[in-house]
Symmetry: C2
Subunit: 171 residues, 2 copies
């Protein structure tokens, strides 16, 4: 039986930093580079986060992380794969998230999607996520996907990957 | 620690038979009474089910099951409660489902909502559902909520409840 792997969306499949930077800073005539945001929690780095992600179909227009399609195909062949996205915090965004998945990952069935508020009730063997708040509740193999907010985090209970090439190397 | 209870939406909190009957039969000049549909799978009873639930914000306008608000309040006080709805089968409906929950059950937080394709990866101690396909994968206490499609089903691994009064009596 294949192992069950839970894969996060934002910050793992979807590059949310680029459109957040655009929404938060370019409108105010400022330009932030990613390095400025290293080690800073997303809600602090982007004080208008809730407003930004709740408008202009933010999640539907989010760009892909590099090699995410190839990486997810690889995992989908090898594992029992579920996409698990914390999505109910932003009411009205889930339809966009599902359409985004269907647009870029047509090989993922609707049966492989979970949109929730907290991930601690979802079972699996492996979890890939950029947020410690999700990984810390998980009993299986925890893989932290590097994003600016978690870049300084050291935790021996996680394996860290910087990109999808590394995901495919270790899994 | 409170036990975790998973509560289904359609056929448990939301009365979907009434608007399905309206969508399937009254448009064709026929009127079905609930008894005609006893023991018949939903997809057979409502051949246009997918089309009906995908239009006119079906899930947002679904009426409540009797005593559902009082029942869910009771469970929410006593248990660690999660709403778990198979929702991704009908793309575009999840926002409506979330708004429906917020409308009738404002005491339920976004953290207590899970919208998925299959429920077999969601952990809990008790599950209330009207579909054997969901209950059969569940390891805990299985409670079958009576709906016309399951009315003839006999399965000793389930407790059967006919309404929310009975839910409150046994839990």
């Amino acid at each position: 039986m294949k192992k069950k792997i839970l894969v996060d969306m934002d910050g793992v499949l979807a590059n949310v930093y680029l459109p957040l930077i655009e929404g938060q800073y370019t409108n105010k005539g400022m330009i932030k580079v990613i390095d400025d945001l290293n080690g800073i929690e997303e809600y602090k780095a982007f004080p208008d986060l809730k407003k930004i992600v709740s408008s202009n179909n933010f999640f539907y227009h989010a760009p892909l992380m590099e090699d995410a399609i190839e990486g997810l195909k690889y995992l989908n062949d090898k594992y029992d794969l579920l996409i698990v996205s914390a999505a109910t915090e932003f009411p009205g965004c889930i339809n966009d998230k599902q359409m985004w998945l269907q647009k870029y990952f047509p090989f993922i069935s609707y049966k492989q999607m979970i949109f929730c508020g907290k991930k601690d009730s979802v079972m699996g063997d492996i979890m890939i996520d950029d947020h410690p708040k999700n990984l810390d509740y998980f009993k299986g193999h925890r893989i932290l996907f590097t994003q600016p907010h978690n870049i300084n985090l050291k935790n021996e209970s996680y394996s860290r990957v910087d990109n999808w090439r590394e995901v495919m190397q270790i899994l």
